[in-house]
C-alpha cells in the first residue's frame, strides 16, 4: 500500500503543528525566519514563519502572535504543549533572515539579521537548544521538516537543496 505523505503548508506570519508521517513546510522565506520546534521521541513538530523581531513594533490593535519572534515562539510552544509535548524535550532548527535588498530604511534593510537575533534570544530565554541553522545571506529559502527523521530540508534558487 502506498502511504501518501501529507505536507502541511504554513503561510507568512502563521504557524502550525504536525505529527509524523506528515511533514511541514513554508515557502519563500526572505528576511522572515522559519522556526521549527520539535520533539524527537514523540515525532511532533511545529513551524512558525515570523516577519518581525519584536511585538512592540506592532501598531495594530489585534496582535497576530505568529508575526513576531518574541510572541510567536512562545505561542508555538503552547500549541505543542496541547499536543502533549513537554517544553523541556523541545529542540529547534531555524532558517531564513536573508538581506534580499541592500536599501530601504536602515531598519528595514537589517530586518533579516534582527529577526535571527530575536529568534535566538527568545529560544535561549525558553531554554530550547538550536541544533541547526541556515540563516543570513541574500537568498530566499523554502524549508520542509520531517518529524520522523528530524531533518530540515532547505532549498534555495542557486544552491539547490541541503539537509540540516
Amino acid at each position: 500500500m502506498m502511504v501518501l505523505k501529507e505536507v502541511v503548508r504554513v503561510g507568512i506570519a502563521d504557524m502550525n503543528v504536525v505529527k509524523a508521517p506528515m511533514t511541514i513546510r513554508t515557502s519563500g522565506l526572505g528576511s522572515c525566519v522559519g522556526v521549527i520546534l520539535y520533539d524527537e521521541t514523540k515525532k511532533i513538530a511545529g513551524l512558525l514563519h515570523i516577519m518581525l523581531p519584536d511585538s512592540t513594533l506592532g501598531k495594530s490593535s489585534q496582535l497576530n502572535a505568529a508575526k513576531f519572534a518574541d510572541t510567536g515562539i512562545y505561542a508555538l510552544m503552547e500549541m505543542l504543549k496541547v499536543e502533549g509535548v513537554r517544553p523541556m524535550s523541545l529542540k529547534a532548527k531555524i532558517a531564513g533572515g536573508a538581506q534580499m535588498f541592500q536599501f530601504g530604511s536602515s531598519d528595514t534593510i537589517r530586518i533579516g539579521p534582527r529577526n535571527v537575533e530575536a529568534v535566538k534570544e527568545e529560544l535561549k530565554r525558553l531554554s530550547i537548544p538550536i541544533l541547526a541553522e541556515d540563516t543570513g545571506g541574500s537568498s530566499g529559502r523554502t524549508i520542509e521538516f520531517d518529524p520522523v527523521t528530524a531533518i530540515l530540508s532547505v532549498r534555495t534558487v542557486n544552491q539547490g537543496t541541503k539537509e540540516l
Binding site: 522565506l29 526572505g30 501598531k59 495594530s60 528595514t108
Partner: protein
C-alpha cells in the same frame, strides 16, 4: 487613520484610477522601448492577506526577476515590477541582442542586470511621474534593485512596513502584456504598488475624496 478599516469602494476606485494612469504611461514607455504594442489591463485593486499577495505574483515559491524600489516624499510605499524568468529572458534578450542571456544562470552578465535595472527605472519612473502629476504630490523613487529569487522572499521585503500596522495590504496590481506574434513568447508582468498605510490619507486628500 492608521489602518485600512475605513477604506470604501470609492477609495478603491480612486486607487484604481491611479493605477490606470501610472500603468498607461509605463506601457507607452515600454512599447517605445520595444517598438511593439503593449497591452495594459485595468488594474486590480484589492485588500489582500500577505499570502494572497504572493499568489497574485505566481505563488511564494515561483522564481521571478523582481525589480523593487521604495517610494519616498509626500507618499511612501513599495513598488515591484515582477516578471517570470521566461518573460524576463525574452525581454532582455531582445533588448541587448543576446539570445543566450539567461536569468536562470548562476552568474549573470552585468549587461543583462543593468538592462533589467534600466527597464525598472524607465517603467517605474513613467508610472510614478504620472502619479505625481495626477495627485500633485512629490514622489521620489529610490534606485531600483533587482533580485532573481522566490516571489515570497522578494515581495515580503516590501511588506515589512505594512506589517507593523496590519496583516493585510492594499495592492494596486496592473498586468502588463506584450502580445507576441503567433506562437512566440510574450511578456507577462505585474506592477505592484503597495502604499504604506500612512499614505492612503495623503492620496485621498490630494484628490479631494477625504
Amino acid at each position: 487613520m492608521t489602518s485600512e478599516n475605513h477604506i470604501t469602494d470609492m477609495h478603491l476606485d480612486v486607487l484604481k484610477e491611479i493605477g490606470n494612469i501610472g500603468a498607461a504611461h509605463a506601457a507607452t514607455s515600454l512599447s517605445e522601448l520595444l517598438d511593439r504594442k503593449i497591452d495594459m489591463h485595468v488594474p486590480n485593486v484589492k485588500l489582500v492577506s500577505f499570502d494572497e499577495m504572493f499568489d497574485l505574483a505566481g505563488g511564494a515559491e515561483a522564481i521571478v526577476a523582481g525589480i523593487f524600489l521604495r517610494i519616498e516624499g509626500d507618499l511612501s510605499g513599495s513598488m515591484f515590477f515582477v516578471l517570470s524568468l521566461e518573460s524576463a529572458n525574452h525581454f532582455i534578450r531582445r533588448l541587448i541582442g543576446d539570445e543566450t542571456f539567461d536569468f536562470g544562470a548562476s552568474t549573470l552578465p552585468d549587461i543583462g542586470v543593468s538592462a533589467m535595472q534600466e527597464l525598472g527605472n524607465i517603467l517605474s519612473g513613467s508610472y510614478l511621474s504620472a502619479l505625481s502629476d495626477f495627485t500633485g504630490l512629490k514622489i521620489y523613487p529610490t534606485v531600483p534593485s533587482l533580485s532573481v529569487d522566490m516571489v515570497g522572499a522578494i515581495v515580503s521585503f516590501g511588506l515589512i512596513e505594512v506589517s507593523h500596522f496590519s496583516d493585510e495590504v492594499i495592492v494596486i496590481d496592473t498586468q502588463i502584456r506584450e502580445e507576441g506574434e503567433t506562437g512566440s513568447t510574450s511578456i507577462d508582468g505585474h506592477f505592484f504598488l503597495l502604499p504604506d498605510p500612512s499614505s492612503y490619507i495623503t492620496i485621498f486628500k490630494s484628490l479631494g475624496v477625504m
